[in-house]
Amino acid sequence: MKSKRYYAQNAAIIVLALAIIVMSVGYAAYSTQLQLKGVTTVQSSKWSILLQNPTKYSTTTIADDKITKLEVRDLAVNFAAEMTIHDTFSFTVDVVNDGTFDAKLTGWSLTAKNTATNEAIAVDENKTGASNSYLTYSVKWLDGTALAQNDPLKHKVAGSSENVKKLLVTVQTHEPTSVNDLPATNQSFEFDFQMTYGTIF
C-alpha cells in the first residue's frame, strides 16, 4: 500500500507541472512577436582606376594639325606632336577612380630619350620632369601641385567629383644658352610616364 507521502509527492509534482503549464500558457498569451524587416543591397566590389579624356590645354601654342596624336588606349594615353623652338604643347588627362575602393598614388616613373640616338634626357629628382638644353617635359596636377606619395583618389560616389583628378602634361621648347645647341636637323624624343595606384584594407 502506497504511503501518504507518495501521494503527496505525486500531487506536488502534478501541481507543479500544471503550474508550469499554466505559466507557459500564460506566458504564451502575453507575448508578441516583433519583426524588423528591410532590404539591403550589397554591391559587388570593383577596382578600376583609369585615364580618360585627354584634352589640349590652353597654354598650347602649336596648331592643331601639329598634334598628330592625343588618345586613350587601354590604360594609356598616347600623344605625338611636331614642334619648333619657342613652342608649347600641353594637355590635361583625367585620372579616374571608377571603382568602389578608395585608392592612392603609390609610385610613378619617367623616362625620356632621343629616339634616334637613344640618349637619355635628364630626369629631375621628383621624376615628374625631364629636360635638355632646349626641351622641357613636365607632369603635375592641374591645380599646380606636384605629385606626392599617397595622393588620394576617392572611390566613386554619386554627386561627388572626388574620384577624378586632372593631370597636366606640358612639353615646351626654348632657346638654349648656346646657339650651337640648337638642333640643326629634326630631332625626335620619346617620353614614358607611368603611375601606380593601389589601396589597402
Partner: protein
C-alpha cells in the same frame, strides 16, 4: 576512446587561409597607368647670310695693278677687301661674288650703302648689280637656301691725265635682314 580534436591545428590552418585570401585581395587592387608620347623638334631657325665664290673677270686689270685682289677677309664671310690701281681711262676691275642665304629664314636687302665722294665720282664709275644687269636695290629678296650672283665693277672714267696718284677709299655695304 574519446576522439581528441586538434584545435590549435585547425586554428592555424584557418588563419593561414584568411591571410592568403587577404593577400590575393591586396595583390589585385593595384593599377598602373601610362602616359606615353613622342615629340619631333623641327629644324631650328638659322640665320646665315654671307659672301662666297669671288671670281675676277678677265677684262680686269691685273699684275701690278692689283695690289690686293678681291678677297673675303673675315670668318663670317661678310667683308670683301681689294686694292687696285686703275691707271688709264677705261681700266676696270670687275668681279662677281655670290650673295648666299644658307639659313632657313627668308631674307631681304634692307639697305644699299656705298660711299663715293664727289671727287671720286669724277674719276671712277662704281656699279653693283646682279648678273643679269639689274641693280641691287633695297627690298630685294633673298629666300632661304638660295643665292644670287652680284657683279662689282670699278672703272676709270677720267679721260685726262692724272697728276700724281689719286687714291679713293670706296666702301659698299649691303644690310640683309629677316624678311
Amino acid at each position: 576512446m574519446e576522439k581528441k580534436i586538434n584545435y590549435p591545428g585547425i586554428t592555424i590552418f584557418l588563419l593561414a587561409i584568411s591571410i592568403l585570401a587577404m593577400s590575393i585581395g591586396f595583390a589585385v587592387r593595384s593599377e598602373k597607368l601610362r602616359i606615353n608620347g613622342s615629340t619631333t623638334i623641327g629644324e631650328s631657325p638659322r640665320w646665315n647670310v654671307h659672301f662666297e665664290n669671288i671670281e675676277v673677270s678677265q677684262n680686269s686689270v691685273f699684275g701690278e695693278s692689283v695690289r690686293k685682289p678681291a678677297t673675303i677677309i673675315n670668318n663670317e664671310s661678310t667683308f670683301i677687301n681689294y686694292d687696285v690701281v686703275l691707271t688709264s681711262y677705261n681700266d676696270s676691275y670687275e668681279f662677281t661674288v655670290d650673295l648666299v642665304n644658307e639659313g632657313n629664314i627668308n631674307a631681304r636687302i634692307s639697305s644699299v650703302m656705298y660711299t663715293l665722294s664727289d671727287e671720286a665720282k669724277k674719276y671712277l664709275d662704281y656699279s653693283i648689280e646682279y648678273e643679269d644687269g639689274t641693280k641691287v636695290l633695297e627690298g630685294d629678296e633673298l629666300p632661304k637656301r638660295s643665292k644670287k650672283k652680284i657683279k662689282v665693277k670699278l672703272q676709270n672714267i677720267f679721260k685726262e691725265d692724272v697728276v700724281g696718284e689719286k687714291q679713293f677709299d670706296i666702301s659698299f655695304a649691303l644690310e640683309v635682314v629677316q624678311k
